[in-house]
């Protein structure tokens, strides 16, 4: 989780990721942010994010992202 | 249950208030009382001016689209035969609309003849015509909707179109240089129809019924227009008139009798007549009316003096046309309107 927050801070440091739950819905994280984000988390956590995972629910909050990462690591 | 009744009552109340308001606004919507007649322009112009004619003075109505209004000059008919006519058509007129135009015209008048230019009988578009089934009766009965554009007159300067019993003078010349035997050719515009839709027939029957009840004679005619007529179409119109039991004349087969000069008489290369062509067609129609109807010559009748006055103004405008061409009138309308006003004042002074 620490690592994930670091990655997010790197993309945009003006957001409080611990509490924000509408990162996608409110366009806080834009499409280009997502591109960077996915590159980073795939490398850091050694996972493959595929098209099926690309839903707002998976990216709306740091918590949701973290649970997605854990799920993908298990597989 | 109670909530449901309450809701239904609410809807009924809402609709009633709406209707009452619409009725009040409609009663208030009397353009001719609010404004100078000249302020009412475009499509409403002839409609309003028609209702303003002195009671029971108009004998001949001429209806149709722009081909009809550019081809018939009531003031010239007066000059030649002493019959009183009025153009009640409009650009791109539709059958549904025309039925209510005729109804409107007959509110204060007892015309004896209705001239119908045949081109608009062919005009048809299912979508719009279906819409009109609904909208036209509403517009006719609800002046608020019919005249809703009238507010524009408040912010705009007086219009430039000067109507003479529904005719506007246009002296622009663009000669027709196509073949003389245009009747034997195909129409260039393939989108034009050769038949009559059942909706148009339905409206025509309503018009006919209305006229029969009032003893109005219907004469369908096809005016001179190489762009819009060929033999196929004229035969269709003739057939239509025969089926409906009304008179029909085609002027395209009588070019020499009418005396059309192709270099001078058309406004847009054989589509519409200009004033020169209009005079000739009007004269021909006048002779036809003289022969085939029992219209009365009102010239010299004290009750019709306004027609003589109009004739003078009309001729003055025709003279001005030599100075200010049709195209210029749009650009110089401010100047020209001033001039007209000045002249009006002067003529009043003289009286």
């Amino acid at each position: 989780m620490e690592q994930l927050l670091e990655i997010l801070q790197d993309i945009d440091d003006s957001v409080d990721y611990e509490t924000e739950t509408k990162l996608i819905d409110d366009h806080i994280l834009d499409s280009f942010g997502i591109i960077t984000l996915i590159g980073e988390i795939e490398e850091t956590f050694d996972i493959e994010v595929d098209a099926a995972e690309m839903t707002p629910e998976n990216f709306n909050s740091a918590k949701a992202m973290w649970s997605m990462i854990q799920r993908l690591q298990e597989n | 249950m109670q909530q449901k009744t309450k809701n239904i009552l609410k809807i009924i109340l809402f609709c009633s208030i709406f209707l009452v308001l619409l009725l009040i606004f409609s009663l208030m919507m009397k353009p001719q009382k609010w404004f100078d007649e000249k302020l009412i322009q475009n499509r409403d112009a002839r409609y309003v001016q028609m209702t303003e004619q002195p009671e029971n003075t108009i004998d001949v109505l001429n209806i149709g689209d722009s081909l009809a209004t550019c081809t018939f000059s009531p003031v010239d008919l007066w000059r030649q035969q002493g019959y009183t006519g009025f153009n009640i058509g409009a650009d791109g007129l539709r059958m549904a609309e025309s039925y209510y135009y005729i109804l409107n015209a007959c509110k204060n008048q007892k015309p004896k003849v209705l001239l119908i230019e045949s081109l608009y009988l062919f005009r048809y578009s299912l979508g719009e015509d279906t819409q009109m089934l609904l909208s036209q009766p509403i517009y006719y009965r609800v002046p608020f909707l019919k005249y809703h554009n009238i507010w524009k007159a408040l912010v705009e300067m007086p219009g430039v179109m000067i109507y003479h019993r529904g005719y506007t003078i246009n002296d622009h010349v663009w000669s027709y240089d196509g073949p003389d035997n245009y009747l034997d050719l195909e129409l260039e515009d393939k989108s034009q129809r050769m038949t009559f839709s059942w909706l148009n027939r339905m409206w025509f029957n309503r018009i006919k019924k209305f006229c029969d009840e009032r003893g109005i004679k219907i004469i369908v005619y096809s005016t001179v227009s190489p762009i819009n007529y060929n033999r196929k179409r004229i035969e269709a119109a003739e057939e239509f008139a025969r089926e409906e039991g009304v008179d029909y004349i085609d002027l395209n087969q009588r070019i020499d009798e009418v005396g059309i000069d192709w270099t001078r008489d058309t406004n847009d290369a054989g589509d519409h007549m200009n004033y020169h062509g209009c005079m000739k067609v009007t004269a021909y129609l006048g002779e036809y009316l003289k022969e085939h109807t029992d219209l009365v010559d009102h010239r010299g009748d004290e009750a019709y003096r306004d027609w003589d006055e109009e004739l003078v103004a009309f001729d003055q405008l025709v003279k001005d046309m030599d100075r200010i061409s049709f195209a210029d009138i749009y650009r110089q309308k401010k100047k020209y309107m001033k001039e007209l006003k000045k002249r009006e004042k002067e003529s009043k002074k003289r009286k």
Binding site: D30, I38, E43, A52 | N42, E97, T130
Partner: protein, 527 residues
């Protein structure tokens, strides 16, 4: 019978409401579906059969994929070890991909055929002409709304493929989702969970929903009839005879076309959403004050949102995470660093999105250009981001200062107007000629000298300007958290009714309608 006509608003809609309410709840979806097909028939005649076939096909493909998924799960259970399991899974996944491909290819194939066949044939013939060969032109009938329902169907199939939700078993529900009558002409492009449940549930019509729906319809109709329909004449005149007009008129036409398009498109979407609301269906929004966007990217998040979202979900994201793009970006990171890898990845993901967005609007080089125009601008936006930050720091600009925001909004306007100029030009060549005439032949005074006042009189100009100001104020207030529509609906009955009556009569008075006035067709219904 388009949705802005009196036939729809005064006859069709009330009739459907009445029948809907009288029919037992479990059959109401049938009323909506029949109404949809009747409306569709009124535009496209027997092409309604194509719509029905498309619905059945979409329904079947989704079920097929679900079925394969179920089989896969069953087989996996029977497997002993992990390796075997993943093998089975892979096997079935391959089959599911094939089914998805079949579905997408068939639907896009039809869309391609009706939209682009003649265009492609024409351009191919230019080359074949030299060889003396020729592709025949096809007389293609255009099925209304095909661009919209095809995207909905493809989205649905893709979502089922990704197991975002299960395939719908009831054919009627899928058919109704694809053909719901307000949406069929101009969208918005919905996703299955957005509307399907509400459409199918047959919930009774609520008074509150009627209020909300009618207010929305009235608002949309006003935008279209007071502003947009008036501007149509002017823009058509200038775009149609652009060679006769000075650059100042071209600029004006680009602006008026943009306003016209916005008022008309967002207005008819208001009618769509309002109509849906009456039946208790919340159709997704399509516009969100697009002219307060501070960048081209933001503009596309506020303008035709449902299209943008569709491309984001079904083209952009899948591209971003596709193995090809990922591999490239991994390599690029090592070789060129973070920045260039990010720019390159964006380019690769954005390119197909904007080719598709352009081409989706129709056949013609100008639409392709329109897509590429935004591709370049958006990519530049990404690439220049670090530079802009540096500049702001150096010059001490606060990016949140209101003057800076205003400047950005104005810059975005220029981008939008230019884009729409090419979008509405007759051809791409005409677009360029118009664009360059702005620089070569500009006389501001020619506007009042040559104003076509037989088309747009002083009164019309007042109505247009007044309408724009009101729409702007309402949008501005909404942008700052004060939703006028909500406030009206929340107010007490007498106040609400007075506002409603004022709106209705203002519309009846200032709307451009009536005898001799031709109702203007919906622009986006042509796409």
């Amino acid at each position: 019978m388009a949705i802005h006509t009196n036939l729809y608003l005064l006859v069709f809609l009330p009739l459907v409401m009445l029948i809907y309410q009288l029919v037992p709840r479990n059959k109401r979806w049938g009323v909506l579906l029949s109404a949809s097909y009747v409306l569709y028939f009124s535009f496209s005649r027997f092409l309604v059969l194509l719509l029905m076939a498309t619905s059945a096909f979409t329904w079947k493909i989704a079920l097929w994929m679900d079925d394969l998924g179920a089989q896969s799960a069953q087989k996996q259970k029977e497997c002993a070890d992990r390796k075997q399991k993943s093998e089975v899974k892979k096997d079935f996944q391959k089959k599911r991909v094939k089914v998805l491909r079949l579905g997408v290819l068939v639907l896009l194939g039809i869309l391609f055929y009706v939209n682009y066949y003649n265009f492609v044939a024409q351009n191919v013939n230019v080359f074949l002409g030299a060889l003396g060969a020729k592709l025949p032109m096809a007389r293609v009938l255009f099925p209304m709304g095909i661009s919209f329902y095809t995207l909905e169907a493809v989205g649905y199939m893709a979502d089922v493929y990704w197991e975002r939700y299960p395939a719908e078993k009831h054919l009627g529900k899928v058919a109704l989702f694809l053909s719901f009558f307000p949406q069929i002409m101009e969208g918005p492009i919905a996703r299955f969970p957005d509307t399907a449940e509400a459409l199918f549930s047959g919930a009774p019509i609520q008074m509150a929903n009627i209020n909300e729906g009618l207010l929305r319809i009235l608002w949309g109709l006003s935008k279209k009839m007071v502003v947009s329909d008036r501007l149509t004449l002017l823009t058509n005149l200038i775009f149609g005879n652009y060679k006769n007009y000075h650059g100042s008129f071209i600029i004006m036409a680009a602006i008026t076309y943009t306003i016209q398009l916005y008022m008309e498109f967002s207005g008819s979407i208001d009618i769509v959403i309002g109509s849906g609301k009456i039946f208790g269906v919340t159709i997704p929004e399509n516009f969100n004050q697009p002219f307060s966007a501070q960048s081209a990217a933001e503009f596309w998040r506020r303008w035709h949102m449902s299209l943008g979202n569709w491309f984001k979900n079904y083209v952009f994201y899948p591209m971003t995470v596709s193995p090809m793009v990922k591999n490239w970006s991994k390599k690029a990171r090592k070789k060129y660093g973070k920045y260039w890898s990010m720019v390159g990845t964006s380019a690769m993901a954005l390119f197909p999105v904007w080719v598709a967005t352009g081409v989706w609007h129709g056949a013609g080089w100008k639409y392709l250009f329109y897509g590429m125009y935004y591709f370049v601008i958006l990519l530049l936006g990404v690439a220049l981001e670090p530079l802009k930050e540096k500049r702001n720091k150096k010059l001490g600009i606060d990016p949140n200062a209101s003057w800076f925001k205003t400047l950005r909004i104005l810059k975005t306007w220029v981008i939008i107007f230019t884009g729409e100029l090419f979008f509405n030009a007759k051809t791409l060549t005409a677009g360029f000629e118009m664009f360059f005439s702005i620089f070569g032949n500009f006389h501001i005074s020619s506007i009042w000298k040559y104003w076509p006042d037989d088309l747009l009189t002083t009164g019309d100009v007042y109505a247009i300007v007044g309408g724009c100001i009101i729409v702007w104020i309402v949008g501005f207030l909404k942008e700052h958290g004060w939703d006028a529509r909500k406030k009206i609906l929340e107010s007490a009955t007498p106040a609400r009714w007075s506002i409603l009556f004022t709106l209705v009569f203002a519309l009846l008075l200032f709307g451009a309608y009536g005898t001799g006035y031709q109702p203007v067709d919906l622009i986006y219904a042509g796409f």
